[in-house]
């Protein structure tokens, strides 16, 4: 084991050594620095390995050979090893990244860099307050030195402001140390922490020793180092103006060291100070995120994000009393996510020529950089399988367990805002036109650090998965399979498509035995259904970069979801499918804003799920789904509300639906059926589980299932109504999905046997017909080059197969016999006879016929009516898009004929929950308590009558002259052009006149206003940071004096 003191010695020695070198031997100097930093990284790495595997014990280094308090001591434990490794590795990679710049600046700059690294190491290792002060000073000087070496004038100004702040901090710290020594008689941290107290070691020592003020001063000083709100303007200026590699160092290494210093200080402060840390952290976290929202400069945005993340870690530190032995897992998880992601992002920023966020579209030149970018964003936002995810999961569970709901809510709110601006940025990268300049330069010495950060991100994800005590997500088959496609991107798309289909089917076959009938249906839809839709993928040639990892990520989420046994797996799967589908939706041509709103609503819903699960778990790290029913009655209502809203976000219930039309309509042809036909069912699956385990719940005397009943009915009404008024075919289908989900929601909330059965019928039917319709209209849109229905028309002869698919689809949706949609309606009527809730039914009855409006419009304006000039040579949709449609047609007819195959199993299963009111089978007839229904006879009778009438018409009308589209009786005139003859635009104008007032976009307005308010608030916050040094000084003074006044108030 190398001696840890080498960390200080080697850095310092090399820095001096560099001074001896000739000025012109810059290359050598650089190599030496690199070697030194490599060594400095190697030392904590070996220690970390040894400490983690238990081969070594933490060591104390006694500098003067004497134990404390007689001499300064350093300590190297697991935490210190990890943090110094982080710091030194950042230093090493920064040096590498800065190669050109450092060669330019010369050995002095390298020496300063080394000193900075050394100082940060010292800050982490030292156990002595005064020594801490020395290292703080050293850090400040080295940081300022690095800043002042820049040629950017703004960087000079920022460096100056920084020096000013650093002096304030030093003075406060020094005075605090003086008082502390006066009060405690020692400056050794352990000594102070262990100082005798009636409350026990470390508990309120300052109160008794009269050192409260001393601690307060030190606390203020060190917290100020963390750039808390509002005393952080100087830091933002640094982030914005310094060289990005330096900003990376500043964010990843300095922040880390400062956080650890605060952590060390708090060990002597007692638990009351943890609250202060939490409050400061939360305020910083939220306000910095808000300020980042309207930001358009990438580096300043990253600066805000850094400040916010540091705040979050501070919150984590503030929960130390709660977290117990999971403290390091959580705090390190948050810290590591922040450090790696921020370093990586700053390094990426260094590659960019322009500062605007949309300039990052240049990343598209190098797909692996997109991967890196996405990984860093996911790391920051705390998405699975990254460490932040595991850490937040634990943090939230602990907070919920201890009833600290305010910080819990604020953390999640802040994270949501963060996801908002980060993924808006991602949208820019994927969708905006790249700047006209030359392709992105990415020399090896700059690529390497980014690569290391990328590998580090995934490595940390693996590590935290191991440490979490939960499921190791990266090693689950579905996720691993999805990630495999990242490596296979170079293959042509048909190979990947085959592999993906095989994978889905194989996974289904392998897990077949694990499903109960309910899960089996969902698994069939998710996996087998997914495979059928993937068939359409063969229609795309080329590599289709990015499609398969995203799609399979979504399917992985779905696969894990349906197999999930505990809340952690369920939630992780939920997040995975959300991200995967977000990436998928984003691929659509004009999908940028819609994908973002999808992601935000989904994440918002997911956070409600998280809160719900955390509340239900009562402090345990997770909860078996089957135990949901065991939640105490005082909480169960709230858990129900949180989970239900979370799931209803996914099913786009009224009010939470605004993301759906755009997201589903703008997605690619074969993505729309995935996200509509399959993904929506995830929400229903969740609701099934919820109602199955929690059953009816009440809150303030309100029957919650009754509320869902109303929501379902209203969703059905408004979904259908809005669908009737759409001009865009895919938007129409999307609104129709909203309406259909309303029906399913209603069925579930009926809480009786047939209601659930109906919901399941809707699950199956909706998957089939909506996938089919999205595919056929996607195919039509592909061929005609438009999605506006009024621009189409008369395509029936040119695209007969697509027409048949749509025809069958709309008959099925409308519930007209003999197709399977009727089964759903029949069960619906039987189900509602059992319910007491009659008023919401009125709305649902109203919604029913409105479906005819949009269905007729869909088929008429696209396939019937007048064919347009430019479409006269349109061909039928590609084979591979038609194939799944024809499969669906066959499925629909089969399901219409023998619905019992699926229904019987599920009927039996539901009987476990609702033993009464099931169906019975009398031969081919399906019999309920109220009525009966014989699908085969219906099909036969209708078929026979139809054929007889048809034969009669053929007989009497065998010589019909086939005429063309303008041969119509046009009031003795003739049509002028097909466009003016095709009645399609604003098809239901009179209906709009009658009921158009119902279509006011109130929900959209509400969410828009909310977003505007957040933006305005962020803009307001931004105005605090004028860039003026005096203002910043005032902020700092306000922060420090405010905190001191508060501290004195609490501890007189």
């Amino acid at each position: 084991m190398p001696n840890p003191i080498l960390l200080i010695a080697v850095a310092l020695g090399t820095a001096f050594l560099l001074g001896l070198l000739e000025e012109r031997r810059r290359r050598l100097a650089w190599a030496i620095s690199l070697a030194a930093l490599a060594f400095l990284s190697w030392v904590p790495a070996t220690w970390l390995l040894a400490l983690a595997t238990g081969q070594a014990a933490p060591v104390e280094i006694l500098t003067a050979g004497a134990p404390p308090p007689f001499a300064i001591n350093l300590r190297l434990g697991l935490a210190e090893a990890a943090l110094t490794l982080l710091v030194n590795l950042t230093g090493l990679l920064t040096t590498l990244y800065l190669k050109d710049r450092l060669l330019d600046l010369g050995r002095r700059a390298m020496a300063v860099l080394l000193v900075a690294v050394m100082a940060l190491d010292g800050l982490i290792l030292t156990r002595d307050l005064f020594n801490l002060f020395v290292f703080v000073e050293l850090t400040a000087i080295a940081t300022a030195g690095l800043l002042l070496l820049s040629d950017d004038a703004r960087a000079l100004a920022a460096g100056f402001k920084y020096l000013m702040v650093a002096q304030f901090i030093s003075v406060l710290l020094l005075i605090g140390i003086l008082f502390a020594y006066h009060a405690g008689g020692t400056l050794n941290l352990d000594g102070l922490a262990g100082a005798p107290s009636v409350l026990g070691a470390g508990q309120g020592w300052i109160l008794e020793a009269g050192g409260g003020f001393a601690f307060l001063l030190m606390f203020v000083a060190l917290v100020a180092e963390l750039k808390p709100f509002p005393a952080n303007g100087w830091a933002l200026d640094i982030y914005e103006s310094a060289h990005p590699a330096f900003a990376a160092l500043f964010a990843a290494a300095s922040g880390t060291a400062a956080l650890f210093a605060v952590d060390k200080l708090l060990t002597i402060g007692g638990s009351e100070w943890l609250g202060a840390a939490t409050a400061i952290g939360l305020a910083t976290f939220l306000i910095a995120h808000l300020c980042a929202l309207p930001q358009d400069n990438d580096r300043r945005l990253l600066g805000y994000s850094s400040v916010a993340q540091t705040g979050l870690v501070l919150v984590g530190i503030g929960q130390r009393d709660l977290l117990g032995d999971r403290y390091f897992f959580v705090a390190f998880g948050l810290l590591a996510a922040h450090a790696v992601a921020k370093a990586g992002l700053y390094w990426l920023s260094g590659l960019m020529a322009e500062r605007g966020l949309s300039a990052w579209a240049a990343l598209r030149g190098q797909p692996w950089l997109i991967l890196a970018f996405a990984s860093f964003l996911a790391l920051l936002t705390g998405l699975p399988p990254f460490p932040g995810f595991y850490a937040k999961w634990e943090l939230i569970h602990h907070l919920a367990g201890a009833d600290r709901l305010a910080p819990l809510g604020l953390i999640l709110l802040g994270t949501l805002i963060e996801a908002g601006y980060l993924f808006r940025w991602f949208g820019y990268v994927i969708k905006r036109p790249p700047p006209a300049s030359a392709p992105l330069p990415c020399p090896i010495h700059q690529a390497l650090p980014i690569l290391v950060a990328l590998v580090g991100a995934w490595g940390l994800g693996w590590l935290w998965g191991e440490l979490s005590g939960q499921t190791q997500l990266l090693l689950t088959w579905p996720l691993a399979f999805a990630l495999l496609f990242l490596l296979l991107e170079w293959l042509p798309s048909w190979v990947k498509n085959t592999l993906a289909i095989a994978g889905l089917l194989a996974f289904f076959a392998a897990t077949y035995d694990y499903y109960d009938p309910l899960r089996l249906i969902f698994a069939l839809i998710f996996l087998v259904g997914g495979a059928i839709i993937l068939l359409a993928g063969y229609a795309t040639s080329g590599q289709r970069t990015g499609f398969y990892p995203s799609a399979l990520l979504m399917y992985a989420g779905l696969a894990i979801l349906v197999l999930a046994e505990d809340s952690f797996q369920f939630f992780a799967a939920w997040e995975l499918l959300t991200i995967g589908s977000y990436f998928l939706i984003l691929r659509g041509q004009a999908a940028e804003p819609h994908a973002l709103s999808y992601l935000l609503f989904s994440l918002g819903g997911a956070f409600l799920l998280l809160t719900g699960f955390a509340l239900a778990a009562q402090g345990a790290p997770q909860l078996a789904l089957a135990d949901l029913g065991g939640v105490p009655a005082s909480l169960s209502g709230w858990v129900f509300v949180l989970l239900a809203i979370g799931f209803m976000t996914k099913t786009a219930a009224l009010g939470l639906h605004v993301w759906l039309p755009g997201a589903h309509a703008e997605a690619e042809t074969d993505v729309s059926p995935m996200v509509s036909g399959i993904l929506l069912k995830a929400g229903l699956f969740g609701l099934f589980l919820l109602l199955m385990h929690l059953g009816r719940q009440q809150l303030y005397g309100i029957e919650l299932t009754h509320v869902i009943l109303w929501i379902g009915a209203l969703t059905a009404l408004f979904g259908n109504l809005l669908a009737a008024f759409q001009e865009d075919a895919k938007r129409l289908l999307a609104w129709s999905s909203i309406g259909q989900m309303g029906y399913a929601l209603f069925g579930l909330a009926l809480m009786n046997h047939l209601g659930w059965l109906m919901a399941l019928m809707f699950v199956i039917n909706h998957y089939i017909y909506k996938s089919m319709l999205f595919l056929s209209l996607g195919g039509v849109a592909k061929r005609t080059g438009t999605r506006d229905m009024y621009r189409m028309g008369g395509l029936i002869t040119l695209m007969p197969l697509s027409f048949i698919a749509v025809l069958i689809g709309i008959i099925a949706i409308s519930g007209v016999p003999p197709l399977s949609g009727f089964g759903g309606r029949w069960i619906f009527y039987n189900a509602i006879l059992d319910t007491e809730a009659r008023l919401p039914l009125v709305i649902l009855f109203f919604a029913g016929p409105i479906a005819f409006l949009y269905l007729f419009r869909l088929i008429h304006t696209v396939f019937l009516g007048q064919l347009k000039d430019e479409h006269r040579r349109v061909r039928e949709a590609p084979f591979w898009i038609l194939l799944p449609q024809m499969l669906f047609v066959a499925l629909l007819i089969a399901f219409a004929l023998v619905p019992g195959v699926a229904l019987r199993q599920v009927d039996g299963y539901i009987a476990r929950f609702f033993p009464d009111g099931g169906l019975t089978w009398d031969g081919l007839s399906i019999v309920s308590h109220y009525g009966y229904w014989n699908p085969v006879s219906i099909m036969l009778i209708i078929g026979v009558i139809f054929m007889v009438v048809f034969a009669w018409l053929l007989f009497v009308n065998r010589r019909a002259q086939k005429v063309k589209q303008f041969n119509i009786a046009f009031a003795a005139e003739r049509p002028y052009r097909p466009e003016t003859t095709h009645f399609a635009w604003n098809f239901f104008a009179p209906y709009r006149k009658a009921l158009g007032f119902l279509t006011l976009p109130l929900a959209t307005r509400f969410w828009d206003t909310l977003a505007d308010l957040l933006h305005a608030a962020g803009d307001l916050g931004r105005r605090l940071y004028t860039g003026n040094g005096q203002t910043y000084a005032f902020h700092f003074l306000a922060f420090a004096s405010g905190l001191i006044l508060w501290g004195l108030g609490v501890r007189p």
Binding site: D869, H871, R872, N967, R974
Partner: protein
Amino acid sequence: MKAELEKRLVTGPDGVEFEVDPLRDYYCDALPEVQRPAYLRIVEDLFNWARAESIWILGFGTGCGAIEMRPLMTPRFDAYRYGIQWRPTPRQANLFVISGYLSVKTLKRVIRSYEQMQNPKYVVGLGSCTLNGGMYFDSYNTIKRLDQYLPVDLYITGCMPRPEALLAGFLELKKLIRAGKAEGANQYAANFAWYKANQKQVIHDWDMPDYNW
């Protein structure tokens, strides 16, 4: 030729340019054929009886004589009791009453509507104007002899004929139909070229296909 009927170059969604010829692409270019009566005499007789008892008039007043048609629907004359009724679309009508003078412009619309009716179909010329021009014998804009342009089954003279005369004319038409003598549609198909030539002689801007299906 009207601009909208001229051939035009169109770019499809796939970027390929092609030519659209409205007359060829938007209109059926088949010509009418002489339709044989039913194989069995008795069936044709039944049909002729039904045709005679169910006369559906196209609701298209071509001239001032249309004013004399209205009273037929009123209680005083009540043509419905003879199986006569009015249909708003030529597709479902059997009888075209050319009600009075026929300007060249209207003639074109009349031809179009007539051709859109289904065989068998009948034309009745109402008033002197359809017969020999009547008081419009020297007009620059009205035809003087309807049977030059369409096969006329029956004329009802007068300027104007009273509703009673119309009723008498319709009853006369019934007899013709019943006897199988009202074969105007077949006559039109058989002498199509002659009718077309006559029509085109007066209608200069012939902006439609030769036969309007």
